[in-house]
Symmetry: C2
Subunit: 291 residues, 2 copies
């Protein structure tokens, strides 16, 4: 992904976090108060940059509203914008910062919608959305499966997926029968599919391969809480190997240092990892909205 930012410190903090998390950054451009180059020229440049697959932008104001709209409607790569200065106080702070007139947020919001720009409501959204868009293919339908080893995280992911406009159909009887052979009798084979607290990497592999090779789901949200004693190191390569299906994958992992190290490996291999079920679900939904 590439980043254009009107705040240097914002950008440095994000870069530092990306390096720490295994998230690849193609181009990083801090433009300050745009004495020379502006964000519109940079958008055109990044759209033709072969290293850039998605663009994230921290924006206080645009240099030229009309030209901005012309360019963003023309560019082919996904663009995620975080607009700073949403409230009166925020707008005043923008004036103190880069000296720019931030303009009415509502106008920006409407313009983003019109131009099919993905608006990030928070710093987390900006990072999560740009990251997943740079790594994962388009979600061809709203239908996803949630596969989890933790009931609670599965439910939280289900709520967030539905709230983000995704759909969670249950597997057909045929598919459920196939999945059932890999699971203990007490496991729930609805959606979320609960692999339960004694899940192994092999169980993940079997169920995920079955789900992804069916035509019932366009993408999967994988929750892998590594605290359970049956789940070993090999979960990383199991998830990596799913890229062959060409369908969007978002992973949720939460915990401490052990989890962080595994998440970094997955990120570096092109699979986005999110620390909460809500963030994974929201990010996955953006892959559909952009299509």
């Amino acid at each position: 992904m590439s980043i254009i930012t009107q705040s240097g410190a914002f950008g440095s903090a994000l870069l530092d976090f990306c390096a720490y998390s295994g998230i690849g950054v193609a181009k990083f451009i801090s433009i300050g108060n745009r004495i020379d180059v502006n964000e519109i020229e940079l958008l055109e440049y990044l759209d033709s940059d072969p290293q850039t697959r998605a663009i994230g932008m921290y924006l206080e104001s645009t240099a030229d509203g009309k030209k901005f709209m012309e360019v963003v409607k023309k560019i082919k790569k996904p663009l995620v914008v975080f607009k700073a200065g949403k409230t009166k106080k925020g707008t005043e702070a923008v004036a103190s910062h880069t000296g720019a007139l931030a303009g009415e947020y509502e106008i920006y919001k409407a313009a983003f919608k019109q131009a099919n720009i993905i608006e990030a409501q928070s710093v987390e959204d900006l990072l999560d959305f740009t990251n997943i868009l740079s790594k994962q293919p388009t979600l061809n339908s709203r239908k996803i499966a949630i596969i989890t080893d933790g009931g609670g995280f599965g439910i939280a992911a289900a709520d967030a997926a539905i709230q983000s406009g995704l759909e969670l159909p249950e597997p057909s009887q045929n598919l459920a029968t196939k999945i059932k052979q890999f699971l203990p009798s007490y496991a729930s084979i609805k959606n979320p599919i609960d692999l339960t607290g004694d899940a192994t990497s092999e169980r993940y592999a079997n169920v995920l391969e079955t789900v992804l090779s069916s035509n019932e789901y366009s993408g999967v949200l994988i929750i892998a809480l590594l605290q359970i004693s049956t789940l070993d190191e090999s979960i990383v390569s199991v998830i990596e190997s799913l890229k062959k299906y060409g369908k969007p994958i978002a992973v949720c992992m939460a915990g401490g240092a052990w989890t962080h190290e595994r998440a970094v490996k997955l990120e570096a291999s092109g699979i986005p990892v999110f620390p909460t079920p809500e963030r994974a679900a929201r990010a996955l939904s953006v892959l559909y909205r952009k299509s």
Copy 2:
């Protein structure tokens, strides 16, 4: 803080994260499907537990609605509840998980409001809110100051603070004059107060001491992006020493391993640290709502 959870994996992941982040946990109780002890008895117990200052709960359903309301109205400690099963799909997943009837989310929501329970809308909220409530005093008014070394994060924090119901009055002329002597001429002394990208620990100390010893603000949101070269290790002890003012403090730090280590030190000393400006602002606002 203490945690009651109806999902074991949810709890283990949270515990792992807390240990990694320097967040202290007093009691952690995973109650599953409540064959014996239920969440109502545990709330009464934790309310009288001297080690517990705030209670966080992952709830799928309550064992007894009437009794639950009686008890939560009676307990004195702040209670944050994350209700799983907000959508039809989520409710079905609850039934598969603990076998409980999750009930209408809208009824729970109204009950939480009536009983002055703080509702967490996400896993992040549950952690952030319970953490800050366990560590920081009540915010006596909505008036806070944002002190930052990064313009962009300051603006994002200002927007989020306003959206969370906080107020950002500018310092009086008298206070502004005092602050001005510690800052370069180009720094903005409104609110956010921008210490700029060459801020030192000494500059933070001087401005924070001045702001906190005035009677113009009930709390501060400190943004300390450690990527800037002028800011050294001593920022941690500068922030720790502010506890003497007895006013709420929320810190935002974002970045990689270096930042993580400093954040852990602050957490362990009783100062909550959040990775984004929005999360710091939302958490700080909860200290007012509870009062």
